[in-house]
Amino acid sequence: MANLDIRKPRFYVDLINFLKNRDQFSGHTGIETSSSEQIDVVSGNSVDELYDMRPLNQVEFNTTGNTDGHINLWFNLKANSWKVDFIAILNHNMHRADAKVKVSASETFSEVKAVNHTNADTSPNLISKVGVEAVSSNFAQADDTDSWSAGHTIIELPRTTNTYYGIQFEGMVGQSSLTAEGTFDATHNLKIGCILLGQYYDMPHSPDLSVKRSIDFDGVKVQESLGGQRFSTMTQHGRKSIVDDNKSPFHTHYNSFGAFGGRMSYDMKFSYLNSSDVMPNNYDSHDVTDEAVVEDLWNKTNGRHTPFIFTQDGTSTAYSDYLFARFGQNKLDMTQVAPDVFNVAMRIEEEF
C-alpha cells in the first residue's frame, strides 16, 4: 500500500524463538550435513545464529565449495499441534548466490533432514507474500529485481501442523524448472540473516483512526557550546546497509544512503474487540486451535521479548509495508467498554 497507509495489520510471529525460550529440552533447530551432498556453514559461522533475531548478523554457507550441494535446515516443533503458515527469510542474498528454497513437513524426522526431503509427508504449495519472484509447489525463488538483491522474503503456506519441518536451499544455475536441480553461484556464498517460522495473526479489524506513527532518531545527542554552536553525535541512524548484501530487514537499497533512518513506531488502539478475539477460551492451558490476540500474539512473543514481523496492511506484498519490530510496552491493557467487548492498545517499535 502506497504511503504506508494503514489497513488491517498482520503479525508474523516466530514459533522457533517461542519454543527455544520455553522448552528446556531444546533441540528445535539444526543443520544436517551427514551427506556429502549437504553443505555446512563457513568456518566460524554458527547455524544457531539464524534464529538470533539479529538479521544483520548473517550466517554464511559454503555454497561455493559445493555448488551442487544442498543446505538442509530442520525444525523440530516437538508436537504436531503447532500451526505453521509462514516462513520468513530475512537479509539473505539468495539471488546473488543463485539459491532457491524448498519447504517440507513431516512426522518423520529423517525425512526433513534428507537431501530433497525425500518421502516427506507434506510438500506445501507455497504462497508468495513478500520478496518472492516465483513459487512452484514447495519451491520458492527470491526476488531478483535488483542485481545485488540482498533480500527479505516472506513465504506463506497452507496452515499445517506437522512436528518436523525442513527448509532446503539449493542452487538454480542450469535448472530446467524451479522444481528441478540446479547449482549455486560459484563465486558468492549464500548468506542469511534470520529465519522465522510460525503462524501469522491478523487483527480482527483495523485500528482506530487515531493511530500515531512516529519516526524517532533516537540515537542523536546534541550539545551546545558556550558560544551557541551546536554539535551533534549520532550513535545509530536506524536501518542500514552494512554492505550491499547485508541490510536491515525490508530495506532494499544497496547502501545506507537509500535507507530511511530513524526508528518507526506505531501507537495503535483496537476498539471493540470481542473477548473471543482478545483472550483464549481457557487461560489454564494453551489451545492451539484458538485464535486470539493473547493466544497467538502477546503470549507467543513473550510480550516485548521476541521480535516479529509487522505490517500495517496484511494484504500488502510490498517491502515498504513491513517492519521487523517488537512490542514497545511491557503490558497489554484490555479495557472492557461493553459486556465482552474490549479495547486493546499496543505500541510497535521497529528493530534493525
Partner: protein, 1001 residues
Amino acid sequence: MSLTLPSSYESASKNSNIKENWAFQLFNSNSYLSFDGTNDYVDCGTTTGSSAVTISDQGTFAFWIRFPTLVDGQAEAIFVNNVIESSYSGIWISKTGDHKIQAHMMDGSGVGSGDRETFISGTVLQENVWYFIVIASNFNHDDSAVNTNWKIYVNNDASGNVSNSGTASINAPSYTTGKCEFGRVTTGTDDYGKFDIKNFAVWELFLSPDNITAIYNSGNYKSLLYDFGNYDQSTNLKGYWEFNNGEPFMQDLSGNLQNGTINGSVYKGFLPLSTTNTSIDDTFYHGVVTSAGSVRDSIDLENSKAKTSNLSVSISNFNYKGSDISTELLFGTYDYFNYNVRVYSQLNDNSTISNCLQIYQGKLTNISHDDGSISLNIVETKPWDFLSIPIEKTTQKNIYIPISYGNYTKNSATTFASPLFESQLSSKAYRPVPLNKTKSDKILYVDGNNTSNDGLLAVYEKSVDTFVPIENGIASNVETDNAYHNQSDLSQLRSFKQRAESVEVSSNTGITIADAEKAFDGDSNTFANYLVNIEQQEGAVRITLEYDFHSISGKSSDDFKILRDSDNLRVLTAQSRDDDDTTFNIDDATNVTERDVIKVDDEKMIVSSISSNTLTVSRGFDSKKESHDNDTLIRLNNTVTVLGLTYQVDVDKSGDDVGNNTIRTRGDILTGFHSTDISKRTIYTHFSNNTTSATIQIEFDLNEIGSTPPSFDAEFRIYDIFLHTQRVSEEPEEMLYVANDGLSEVYSGSSDLVEHGHEALRDILVRFAGVNTATPDGWSDLHTDRNINNWKIRWWALEPKDIQVILDKITYEFGFIFKFRPDSTSRVVYIKQSSELSASQTLTHHDVKNLSISVSGFNNIITKMIINYEKHPAIKEYISNVTSSNNDVRTKYKIKSEENIKEVKLDMNVGTPATTAQTDPNSDFYSYYNNIIGDVKKLISCEVVNSAKSYSMETGDVIKFDDMPVNPFGHTWSQSGSQYYMITSLQRSIGSVKIKCREVG
C-alpha cells in the same frame, strides 16, 4: 604532539554532526594474526650468529598455522631467522607450491640449490584448516637418514615421509647479520606468505616425541610459555611469539628481545562487539553494547605519573552461536580472561579498521552477568605488570644477578707500600656486589656487567665513609655461574691512611695553639701550630695532645702468612742471625715493604728499610728477640697499624740563639730531641692493631747557658697525624663494591652507556618489560633537555623490585612522564621552558561548554625542599644534600621560615639540584618541580564539544584558550608567562571529550 588521526577519521571529525560507534575486539585463545601474502610481514629485528633464535646445533620449531586459500604452485613464506638480500642465510620455513611444509638450512653463500639443504614434509595440507606443525631436527643433512634426522609433524603425525633436496652438504645453518621475520623472505625478490598463525616457538634442541605430543595438546591451542604435562622445555625456548593477544607488537616471550613490529598483518578471530551493528574489515561487529562507559586518561605532573582508568562495558547477554554469550566468555571453548581488549572509535560507519581511532587497550579481568546483561571490566595493563627485576640468578646459589645503571668512578689504588689518605679515596660512585662463592684462589662477587678494566673491588670503611680498593684486585671480571663476577684474593687485603678524627688538649703549661684541627684537615700542606715565645725562663713547657682515630674494619689480630716471592715460592732466611743483628738477608724481598712486620721463628720484627734482599729490621717487636738459623721460614703479617706523624720544627723563629733548648715529642711517637730546625718530615711507629688513639706530648725544653736564663721562640708544626693500616677480612666480605659502569642501552642500537634517567627508563622497558624499541613520541626533545649532568643516574638493584615501582621512581626523580597511548604507542611528557612552549590547539567559547576555572591551591605548593641525592652505595644515607628555596614565593605568601618545607630523597638522581630555581626548569630536579609546585597554578576544566578539536587531544598536549566569556581570575588568556595549559585529564565517551588542564607556562 597530539594524536595523529587516520585521515578519513580526521576528515569525519571536522564535521560538527557525526555518527560515532565504538567497536570492541575481545581477543581470546582462538585469535590469530593474518598475513595477506601481498605485503604483510612481522619484522623481529636483526639477528647474528650469537642471537638466541639463530640456533645451530639442533632445533625444533612449532606453530599453529592455517592457509585460508591454497593456490597450486604458490609457495608461502612463513619464517626466517637470519635472512639477507644477497644470499641464502639461516633457516627458512615455508609452505611449498604443492602445499607441504618445508624447512631450508642455508649455507650463507649464493642462491642456488647448492647453497641450501631443504627438507620437505610428505603431508599435503588442506585449505582453511588449522594445523599444528613441529619441525624437529639434529640438523644433519645425511640424505640416507633424513627421516631420522628431520621430523616434520603435522598435527602430531610425522608419518609423512620427509624428502631432501639441495646439495649444500651442511650440518648447521650459516649465520651472518640478517633479519628475523615472519611472512616474508627478502632474498632476491621479496616473497610474502598468506597464512594465519597463532604462535611460533623455537628451541635449540631436538624436542622429544613426548614433548611434541604434549604441546599438540590433542589439537587444542595451548601456550608454550610454561611447562605442562610431558612438556618440560619451556625454559629452553630461544624464541616464542603468541599472535593471538592483539598486542601492538609481537613480544618475544622467551625474553630474548627478538620483538616484532607488525607491518600490515591484522588480527582476527577476536569477538567483535560494538554499540551498533557494523562491519569493519569484513568482520561483523555485534551491536550488543548497551553501555560503552568512558575512557579516562590522566597524568599527574606533581608526581610525574600517568594513569588510564579501567573501562566498564555492559553488553546484552545475547545469543552467540547458539548459546548465551556469557557461556562463551568464561569457562567456554576459548579463554578470554587476561586477553587484550581493543576499543576503536568508528566514525560514520567507516568500514576499515585503519580508518578508525583506537581509543583504549586493556585486558579483560572481570565479568559478571545476569540473565539479560553482562558487565565486562577491562583494565589498563602494561607489559611490565607483575614483573620484577632482577630475576636472573646464579645457577649454584640462586643469587640474584644485580642490575645497574650509570657511570661509576673508582678510587686510585692504595697499597701498604703506597698508601693513600682517605681524603684521596674520595669517590663514592660505587655500587654493591654480593658475595657468591670462592673459586680456586679467588672470591667471586656477582657484578652482572662485563668489564675488562673496572672490576676492581673495594671495601667500604664505614667509620671513615670511604671505599678502599682491595690491594690485590683484578681489573677484569669473569663469566661463570650464569653471571659476570668480580674477583678478589682470599685475604681481601687493603691498606690506607686515615687522619685523626679529633684532638683534645689534656694539659698545657704555656704553649700557644693555632689551627689544631689542621693536623687532620685532609690537606697535607696545612698544619697545626704549637708555639712558644718565652723570655728568660728555664725549664720545660709541654702540651699533651690526645688524638682519636676511627676503628677500621677487618681482622685486627695478627695474620701471619708465609712470605712468598713473585713465583709464589716460599721465602726463607738467607743467613743465620744473632738476637742483636739488625740486618737480615732473605731469599727474595720482592713482596716485603718498609714497615711490614715479619716473623722468624717466634720473633716479630719491623722492617725499617730494604736494600735488595737485605732487610734492616727492628728486632723483637712485640715479642722476644732470639737467634735464627739460615733457611728459616719467614711469615708476613697482613694486619699492621702504623702511626704516622708529619711535622716540622723551627727552633729559632726570631733568629735568637737557641742555646741548649730542645724540642721533642714524647708519648706514642718520638721525634727525638731537636735543637736545630727540622724540615717537614714523616716518622712512623707501629701500634698494636686495636689502637684507635694516640697521645703526643710536645715538649719545649729551655735550658740555661751559664747563668743567663734562656729564651725560646720556637714552633712545632703538625701537618698530618694518621694511622696507616693494613687489614684482611676474617671471612669473605658479604658485600664488596665496584665502580664498573652499568648497562649499555639496547633500544636504539647505539650500545651507549646509560647515564641519564630517561635513558634508564627506556632501557628497562625494552630490556626487561618487552616493550618494542619504537621511539616514544617526544623523546627527541626530552633527550635534548635532559642529556646533561644534572639528570644523571646511578642506580642498582640486588633484589627483585616491582618494575612499576622502579619506573615510577625514575619518572619522579627525573621529572618526566611515560605513558602509553590508546593505540599502545608510547609518549614522554614533560614541561618545557616557557619560551619553548607552543599550543597544539586553541579552544574558544565556540568549542567548549561547562568551563570551570580554579587554582591548584595554596596547600599544594612547595616552596622549599631539602633534597637528599646521590644515594650512598653502602648505607641507608645520601652522599649529598642541598636546600633549595623559592624565596620570592615564600615572601609573597608570608611563609614562616620553618613552614612549607619538603624533604626529598633521590635514590637514583645524582645530579646537583639548584638552590634557587633556574629559568629553564629542565636544568635540574629542583628547578623542574619548582616550576610545577613552586607557586599556585591555574586549573581549567571544560567539555570540548567541537570534535574537530577534541578527537585528536590527549593528555600531555599543550593548549591555549582564547575568546572566552570570562578571564581566568586577574589574568587574561594570553597572559605572558602563564598562557599555556597542559591537558592533565581527558575523559572520552561517545560524542564527548572532557578535559582538565593545568597552567604550565
